[in-house]
Amino acid sequence: MARSVSIQRKIGMTILAWSVGLLIFFPILWTFLTSFKSELQAISIPPVFVDFHWTLENYRTIQTQSNYLHFMMNSIYLSLGSTVLGLIFAIPAAWAMAFSPTERTKDILLWMLSTKMLPAVGVLIPIYLLFVRFGLLDSRLGLIVVLFLINLPIIVWMLYTYFKEIPGEILEAARMDGAGLAKEIVHVLAPMAVPGIASTILLNVILSWNEAFWTLNLTTSNAAPLTQFIASFSSPQGNFYAKLSAASMLAIAPILIVGWFSQKQLVRGLTFGAVK
């Protein structure tokens, strides 16, 4: 049990912990600050922290010059599309695994997990060629399907661990009460699993949003999400730190906020329930 810690120790710990926290957070903080500077202030020597003329100019430029919204919409389409598709396939599968397990359920789960370990580069060539053949290159649909497939094992696993916590007797009660399979899922399982499904959605959106292998290799402009948008800043164009910062903030802000809300579930999802 917690014992009374001396106040000096607590203050010391506070200083230490905040220092470490700020140090780790610094690159993001610096990007945030720089995004409101003029390009000249952004590279001033010595650097200025907060004592500069704050401007929204960079954000305006990013939208007008680079069409930020186009990439942002693509990111939203891709992450939501792949998540919805994932849930449609994963909810029934996880239901079956959690409530009607057979001797092979465990093997199937582990096999699904092992597909996640298949290095993307091992299947890049055929996927690329298939995409070329079927005209899917740089299409949202093609990428939604790929993101759906690479995240499907994680979605199934997360839902499975959540569903397993729902007592089977409740579903049996629904069956006794005259609910068929569909009604059992809609009226009983789904409402009880809402928190779990919500965390699954969050994690999957984060993973899809930040996915940077397939999105970089299979898109050029049409279907390109924010990962590609930022990558286009990698070629030096002179003084562009402030604009790069603004673009970066725009790319990470939505997901940073989502992520902060779902950090606890993240552990569970990414470790496949091995650490709770």
Binding site: P167, E172, A173, M176, D177, G178, M192
Partner: protein, 334 residues
């Protein structure tokens, strides 16, 4: 209506036989209790009747109609689970209304029935609460409410009282018995507690390893146990079962005598013994007496105020007409 017949029902999980071939007739309106030690297959048997498990072979008839292949929803039975299995995201009202809603009943009728059930079960005050805000006993009532609104052909209870504390258990036991008096609907009740079985049942089915050991009224089982298992299982404290030389005197392999059928004396009797432990319950005193005739202490019931202490010497005499004799197979000799 609520007649349930099991014919040649078998259940196996892989190579494990849970229930060898079994026949059982449950008549309309009966309160039947399945009792037995844990792992005896009583819950499986109930789930087979409910349709939550498939029979491996055999037939289940409900009111004369074939029900073996019917899904649980179509059997017209209601079940109260050990964990109550209430829907945590629904209010008490919605929990009770759920089976009616599933049946597609119109709203006015649902409301009428739910209100009536809530009133009879003293749940009106909690009708808008969620299960998590209720006590164990209240949850139990909601589970019962959910079962009765459907007016099922039979109620199935799966150890419904095992999650309640002792005091509440006695109260709920009475309530369920009263419910049966009032509804006169068939009830099948599973428990490992022979006191529940004795107090509630019209008919007790004693199970061991999936086999029916004996079927009968509580009193029949008490007075005429067909074998040593039933003899030892029904009655509290347990019947004393003696084998060896003492049993041979009576021409049996084993003899059984209940604690309440031993005459106790400090001066004379058939068996001499030393009191090892005495348990004073107030109304009764139970003595555990070590005797040369049996390697385990013999339990004897005495009066509440019987003045006796550990270490005292006592004499025991079995009442001859209450003595049970069993042969080498453990079956009762009549």
């Amino acid at each position: 209506m609520g007649q349930i017949h099991l014919e040649k029902v078998r259940k196996t999980f892989g190579d494990v036989v849970i229930i060898p071939e079994l026949d059982l007739k449950i008549e309309d309106g009966e309160f039947v209790v399945f009792v037995g030690p844990s792992g005896c297959g009583k819950s499986t048997l109930l789930r087979l009747i409910a349709g939550l498990e498939d029979v491996t072979s055999g037939e289940i008839m409900i009111d004369g109609a074939q029900a073996t292949a019917l899904p649980p929803a179509k059997r017209g039975l209601a079940m109260v689970f050990q964990s109550y299995a209430l829907y945590p995201h629904m209010s008490v009202r919605k929990n009770i209304a759920f089976p009616l809603k599933m049946a597609g009943m119109d709203k006015a009728e649902i409301d009428r029935r739910v209100d009536y059930a809530a009133k009879t079960l003293n749940l009106d005050a909690y009708i808008d609460r969620r299960p998590a805000q209720l006590s164990g006993g209240q949850r139990q009532r909601v589970a019962i409410g959910r079962a009765i609104v459907r007016e099922p052909a039979a109620f199935l209870f799966d150890e419904p009282l095992s999650n309640l504390d002792a005091a509440l258990r006695v109260g709920m036991r009475l309530e369920i018995s009263e419910l049966h008096q009032r509804l006169k609907t068939t009830m099948i009740y599973v428990t490992h507690d022979q006191v529940e079985a004795m107090t509630m049942a019209d008919k007790i089915v004693v199970l061991r390893a999936g086999k029916i050991e004996q079927v009968g009224t509580p009193l029949e089982l008490y007075t005429n146990p067909q074998n040593t298992f039933v003899a030892g299982f029904i009655g509290s404290p347990r019947m004393n079962l003696l084998s060896g030389a003492e049993a041979e005197k009576y021409g049996a392999a084993t003899i059984g005598i209940r604690p309440e059928h031993l005459r106790l004396s400090t001066t004379e009797g058939d068996w001499t013994g030393t009191v090892k432990v005495s348990e004073h319950l107030g109304s009764d005193t139970f003595l555990h007496v070590e005797t040369p005739v049996h390697d385990e202490p013999i339990t004897v019931r005495a009066d509440g105020e019987f003045p006796i202490h550990a270490g005292d010497t006592v004499y025991l005499s079995p009442q001859q007409d209450k003595l049970h004799r069993f042969n080498a197979e453990g079956l009762s000799i009549r």
